[in-house]
């Protein structure tokens, strides 16, 4: 037998071994699809771009940096639902057959309600992008939120004021809302529930007007004479602008309390200058998008490497948080059940049984339980304001109370 030189044998063995390695890696990475639902031409089209960009970037980031190590690859595809129930229902079978998703990233109450039963049937868990609407507040839900309701998020603000100022009597609060959209009606009812359940606030005036009010001077006059100390406006920026003009006309100084989608920066832009929002507040559970926020580093990474070309702001943060909860759930499921054969069922089980912590830093460590579609422990609220013309964080990590459903 010819002598095979040792060198040749070793290199042959090394070559064979090297060829086997990628085979092992390829067999180990399981690819999964995520269905993204969006609104590109309906009533929320103006805020969709940064939200979608944020969540797509987070999924890409996790898939490349974390998922590869765990043997999981994620791919997301977005569909336009026009914020329409019929469109969502009609798209769903196509999405199922085309993607066979393990998870869906919802756009709002439209797909949360219209597709709720379909998600349960198809065993696909849905992570929503905004705050919980009361009609989604059911036990054993397949639709999960990373935020509680708007009322849950506003209560900590008043609790903070109550403590800070050492109050003994309830804070007088006025609410401006609209009946044009059922979601806005729900927001107003939520504030009333907070007043009734926690006793720290008292709703002295509840004003209903159009979604784009013509003029709120006489309504705000009523609010002023009722002695309100804060005005809660959580519908949209147009209402904030109208209220602000009315306050300026009446020379009254009542702070306006808004939420994420009509926050200080957005309302400031609409009213013609952030300086006019001096002394007003924005309260919600999401990250405050200041330049010194710890999450900005993640944003910069996503911007440079993962194609997030939207500005750093509340909307991008919203998308990133939605993506963050989804990938945390998937990560929890992978750790519990392994990377192979992941399904929405497994993800949901993992999410409802383990506290979800993540390396993204977008959300605190949150824990779900079967009673509500939002985390029942771990949620916090942050408060921002405009001080000296600049967007500053007024309070961080205020605990979100537990409320009973109204």
């Amino acid at each position: 037998m010819p002598k095979i030189s040792r060198r040749k044998a070793l290199s042959a063995a090394a070559g064979l071994g090297a060829m086997a390695l990628p085979l092992r890696a390829m067999a180990a990475t399981a690819a999964y699809n995520i269905a993204g639902l969006a609104d590109y031409s309906g009533p929320f089209a103006d805020i969709m771009k940064p939200v979608i960009a944020g969540r797509d970037a987070i999924i890409k980031w996790w898939s490349t940096e974390v998922g590869a190590g765990l043997g999981v690859a994620l791919q997301a595809k977005n569909y336009d639902t026009r914020y329409d129930a019929a469109q969502s229902a009609s798209l769903w079978p196509g999405i199922r057959s085309e993607l066979n998703p393990i998870c869906s990233l919802g756009v709002g109450s439209v797909d949360a309600t219209a597709l709720a039963d379909r998600y349960a049937e198809a065993k696909v868990v849905s992570i929503q992008s905004g705050a919980t609407a009361t009609n989604s507040w059911v036990p054993d839900s397949w639709v999960l939120y990373y935020r509680a309701t708007y009322a849950h998020e506003t209560a900590p603000f008043f609790g903070w004021i109550y403590e800070k100022e050492g109050r003994k009597t309830p804070i007088k609060v006025a609410v401006i809302s609209s009946e044009a959209a059922p979601a806005f009606v729900d927001m107003a009812k939520g504030i009333q529930a907070v007043a009734a359940q926690l006793g720290q606030i008292q709703v002295v005036e509840l004003i209903w007007d159009a979604v784009q009010p013509v003029d709120l001077t006489s309504q705000v006059r009523r609010i002023v004479s009722a002695g309100a100390e804060y005005i809660v406006i959580q519908t949209n920026t147009a209402a904030v602008v109208a209220a602000k003009r009315a306050l300026q006309a009446l020379n009254a100084k009542i702070p306006i309390v808004t939420t994420s989608h009509n926050g200080m920066l957005a309302s400031g832009k609409a009213v013609g200058g952030v300086a006019q929002m001096e002394g007003d507040f924005e309260v919600h559970s999401m990250v405050m998008p200041t330049d010194d926020a710890p999450q900005k580093k993640l944003y910069d990474l996503l911007k440079s490497k993962y194609g997030l070309n939207q500005p750093w702001g509340v909307l991008a943060a919203q998308g990133m948080s939605q993506g963050a909860l989804a990938v945390r759930g998937i990560e929890a499921a992978v750790r519990k059940f392994g990377p192979a054969d992941l399904s929405g069922d497994k993800i949901r089980t993992a999410m409802l049984s383990t506290p979800l912590e993540g390396r993204d830093g977008m959300l605190p460590t949150v824990t779900f339980d079967r009673s509500a579609p939002f985390p029942t422990s771990g949620l916090t609220a942050n408060v921002a304001t405009i001080k000296g013309g600049a967007y500053t964080v007024a309070a961080r990590d205020l605990p979100v109370p537990n409320l009973k459903k109204w």
Binding site: A38, S41, A85, S90, G94, D117, A133, N135, K189
Partner: protein
């Protein structure tokens, strides 16, 4: 005067009044029904859902065709009546767990009662005033749904709807609903065709053409106008009930003025004054909306600089242009064009 192939003559009144006269027409109908029945099997559940949407809209738009196309009573709030039917169905299904077979006509009746109010108003108020008064129905519907007690209609939260139960089967899958909706839609359309050919249909047309003259000829104009509204809104209510069982959630934002306007647009494109025309309109407009939504993601990926919103917003532009074009070039709608094509094919090779 219907155009028939030569050699086809009626020898009884029944034959003369029949919709389908020749063997070939029966064959064509059979092929159409078979094709419709095979869609979910051949094309899959996504197309079944498109079909579901079209069946439900077909029922509602057929009702609108009877009120507007045949009787000339402008009803700009058909979506509100559809909503009344949907909420009635949801409420009855949730509170009393009535069977589907009872809820469907009940929802229709509820919508018809609401429509009767406007039918009676139509006697006094005419023309554009009537058209604009029907818009009030939209506002009243929206207000009522949001402010009535939550145990009635869900208030601001809307109502979830359990799956339809019929003959022991539970219709919760898209394909099952397709056949259910298809059967109901076929029945309602056939009934509408019957109404159109009956003395009521002729009375509708008489009132549309000139209500004063119709009154002088002996038609009870009050009764006919009220009936026109009631029948149209009954159809809307039935369509609404089907919608409730399909989407399995009803909310006030699903039945807005914009939805009513789209329904009128379907009638415009399809052709007023003909049931089949209304169906053409539904297929064209609903089909185009689906097409744009399906193509949208692909187009958005091809041209990311435009941004998804431009692609999808362009749908409004496209469809609006389409409707305007139809009105300018073919004001009688697709149905008219179809009749012309059929006629020229029938007498081919003669030009006229």
């Amino acid at each position: 005067m219907r155009q028939l192939p030569s050699g086809v003559f009626a020898s009884t009144y029944l034959q003369d009044a029949a919709l389908i006269r020749t063997g070939k027409q029966w064959l064509a109908l059979g092929v159409l029904l078979a094709a419709v029945a095979l869609v979910p099997i051949v094309l899959g559940p996504r197309y079944a859902n498109i079909g579901n949407n079209m069946f439900i809209l077909a029922v509602v738009v057929t009702g609108l065709q009877l009120t507007l196309g045949y009787a000339g009573q402008v009803n700009l709030a058909q979506a509100a009546f559809m909503g009344v039917g949907a909420f009635t169905a949801a409420s009855l299904a949730n509170h009393w767990a009535l069977p589907f077979i009872v809820i469907l006509p009940a929802a229709g009746l509820a919508a018809a009662l609401f429509g009767l109010l406007f039918g009676l108003a139509a006697v006094r108020i005419k023309g554009f005033y009537m058209a604009l008064t029907t818009i009030t129905a939209q506002f009243v519907f929206h207000f009522a749904v949001i402010n009535l007690p939550a145990s009635w209609f869900g208030a601001a939260n809307g109502l979830k709807v359990p799956p339809a139960q019929l003959f022991g089967l539970s219709f919760s899958s898209d394909v099952g609903l397709y056949y259910l909706n298809g059967v109901v839609a076929a029945g309602m359309i056939a009934f509408a065709l019957g109404i159109a050919r009956s003395r009521f249909g002729r009375a509708f047309v008489a009132v549309r053409d000139d209500d004063v003259a119709a009154g002088m000829v002996g038609i009870n104009v009050v009764q006919i106008k009220a009936l026109a509204f009631m029948v149209g809104t009954f159809y809307a209510g039935v369509g609404g009930a089907l919608w409730a069982y399909y989407i399995r959630f009803v909310g006030a934002e699903q039945f807005t003025l914009f939805n009513s306007i789209w329904m009128i647009a379907m009638l415009i494109v399809g052709g007023m004054g003909s049931i089949v025309g209304g169906l053409f309109g539904v297929v064209v407009i609903a089909g185009l909306q689906e097409l744009v939504t399906s193509l949208g993601p692909q187009l958005a990926e091809l041209a990311p600089e435009l941004g998804g919103q431009i692609v999808f917003a362009s749908m409004n532009v496209l469809l609006g242009l389409l409707i305007a074009l139809f009105l300018i070039l073919e004001p009688k709608g697709l149905m008219h064009r179809w009749q012309l094509i059929k006629f020229s094919l029938r007498i081919w090779p003669f030009p006229h």
